[in-house]
């Protein structure tokens, strides 16, 4: 019987400070590359992995790198608790443990051929980033694509190098609560950016990843744009501990976020009591 709890050793090959309390970690397998599925993907954008450091525990993280990249995965980690604090102390060549990927990921077949509005805030960017990489590689399968990305200050916006690169292929709308002198983007809530988005609402899909207040974005951007709840997908955050539907920490109503999610149709979440 396979021991699904057993994590595999990986090595840090790159770390990069992305903001005051956020770091990027590039992880490589001990030997060889990460396995690809029949579609050539190492994981489905939106899936998560469980990262552990013995002595500090295990926690779920979304993958930020391209799903076609088999030689490494990138994780973007905010210092928020015991484990992430310890991870932030690690350097190149340090080892940690990984198991996964887990969960469903974004519905890649469903979103094909549609206009895309991706909305995220702060540290919710990783799963969206991997989806953008996927869209760019399959650019002809998608119509218009927007990333609406908000943060507290310009320095809290992550993956700035990537944003420049992505801008060649998708439209990016940035907004911050507290601008600095050089800031040229929007200011305030994401709802202020609505005029910048030109989509065919009946053939558009929205993807969201972010904390509770991101639901505001849903109310203030997606509804006015006319995207129905059935075409809104949310990447949810819970305390996924076992990753395989046993431990019960991540349940919400009828669903296990670790297996049925973490990506849910908004219509589905809205009906749940939880």
């Amino acid at each position: 019987m396979k021991n699904l709890y057993k994590p595999n050793k990986v090595k840090i090959v790159k770390t990069e400070k992305l903001s005051n309390n956020v770091k990027l970690f590039r992880l490589k397998k001990e030997k060889g590359e990460f396995l690809k599925n029949e579609d050539g993907l190492v994981f489905v954008p939106g899936q998560f992995v469980l990262i552990s450091l013995f002595g500090y525990g295990e926690a779920p993280f979304g993958i930020a790198s391209s799903p076609y990249e088999a030689s490494y995965v990138d994780l973007i980690i905010r210092r928020a608790g015991v484990l992430t604090e310890a991870l932030h102390q690690l350097k190149n060549n340090d080892e940690l443990f990984l198991r996964g990927p887990y969960g469903n990921g974004f519905p890649l077949d469903f979103i094909e051929g549609k206009d895309m509005v991706m909305v995220t805030g702060g540290c919710g960017i990783p799963p969206i980033a991997s989806l953008i990489e996927y869209i760019i590689i399959n650019r002809d399968k998608f119509n218009r694509a927007y990333l609406v990305y908000g943060a507290r200050t310009p320095t809290d916006l992550l993956m700035k190098n990537k944003l420049e690169e992505w801008e060649k292929n998708i439209k990016i709308v940035l907004t911050v609560d507290k601008p600095d002198k050089e800031w040229k983007g929007c200011v305030g809530m994401v709802s202020g950016c609505i005029d910048a988005i030109k989509i065919d609402a009946i053939n558009a899909v929205a993807i969201m990843c972010g904390p509770g207040p991101m639901m505001d974005a849903l109310e203030k951007i997606l509804r006015p744009l006319g995207i129905s709840d059935r075409r809104i997908f949310v990447n949810m955050e819970r305390k996924m501990q076992c990753g395989i539907g046993k431990c019960q920490h991540c349940v919400t109503g009828d669903k296990y976020v670790c297996m049925d999610g973490p990506v849910f149709n908004f219509d589905e979440i809205d009906k749940s009591w939880d």
């Binding site: 080892e95 443990f97 019960q248 939880d274």
Partner: protein
């Protein structure tokens, strides 16, 4: 023909079994049989911080649990299913695979709900041996069991309180329970329980089917070795759905208690077609606040049925 064992021989049979198995008598045990396959705390990985080697402790003991009553047998059948689907739980099966369950019933059995062998009382001096699985068959050939042609079979029914009987009857229709609990989200009973429940988690520890857990790392003082442990958790405890950064998805007892019911009666029904409850009565007996889940279910179901009739 019936395979029987004399009551006074049971002890001797167990004595013989002890040569092959670690035999544990679980009759009237407060903690349910799950504790032997899913222990309150177990080491699942050892990590040597110097050699960077990761090992998983091997478990080789052969267990035989003796004396499970009908509700615990039913619970073990369900727990096996939960631990098998949709993903098999390695650490549970490592202990469970070679173990044997022997039931003991002083009431007439009807259809045995689980176990490998069940001893069913048929008269004051004899028990009928019900052999249910291959594992059971391997143990059935011994000098203590004998085939007799005209067994004297008496019917024994449970001397149970009416509360428990009513509760057992309710469990026969898990669909109604699922509908009623799902419907009851805004029922006043959850506010009452919010005040009454102490959020101690005892009900889940003594439940033969509750199986939630958390995984924690422990490091020795010299930091040379780290042990990853899995231990029982309880969805009614305050930190159960809390994430790093401090957000708690189930901040009040009301949500946590409702979630417990929702899992047992709604989600379990959707996943397995059954309620995750066998009316063993432990949670009622050991709840320090005196909450009776049979009564809670009864009240919800009654009001749910009224609401349907009103429509």
């Amino acid at each position: 023909m019936a395979l029987v064992i004399e009551k006074k021989q049971i002890k001797n049979w167990l004595g013989e079994l002890k040569k092959k198995f670690t035999v544990i008598d679980v009759k009237e045990s407060i903690l349910p049989p799950k504790q032997y396959f899913f222990p309150p705390k177990e080491e699942i990985f050892n990590f040597n911080c110097k050699s960077r080697k990761l090992d998983s402790p091997l478990y080789q003991e052969k267990l035989l649990l003796f004396g499970l009553d009908l509700s615990d047998l039913e619970a073990m059948t369900q727990l096996d299913e939960i631990m098998k689907k949709p993903n098999a739980d390695f650490f549970y099966w490592q202990r469970r695979e070679d173990s044997v369950l022997v039931g003991l019933s002083d009431v007439s059995v009807g259809v045995a709900p689980g176990g490998d062998i069940v001893l069913e009382k048929i008269n004051a001096k004899q028990y009928q041996v019900l052999v249910l699985t291959d594992k059971g068959r391997k143990l059935a050939d011994n000098k203590f069991f004998e085939q007799i042609s005209k067994p004297q079979i008496k019917k024994y029914s449970a001397e149970e309180n009416p509360h428990k009987e009513k509760f057992k009857k309710m469990l026969l229709d898990p669909e109604v329970l699922a509908e009623a609990v799902a419907w009851s989200k805004n029922h006043k009973i959850w506010d009452e329980l919010n005040k009454k429940c102490l959020g101690c988690g005892i009900c889940t520890y003594v439940c033969p089917l509750c199986h939630c857990f958390s995984i924690k790392d422990r490091v020795g003082l010299d930091e040379s070795e780290c042990t990853r442990c899995r231990q029982w958790d309880a969805c009614t405890l305050p930190r159960f759905a809390k994430i790093a950064g401090g957000h708690n998805f189930h901040p009040s007892i009301k949500e946590r208690y409702y979630n417990w019911f929702y899992h047992k009666f709604v989600r379990a029904y959707k996943e397995y077609g059954k309620a995750q409850c066998v009316a063993c009565g432990r949670c009622v007996e050991y709840c320090p606040a005196g909450i009776k889940i049979g009564q809670v279910l009864g009240e919800i179901t009654k009001d749910y049925e009224k609401s349907i009739q009103a429509k």
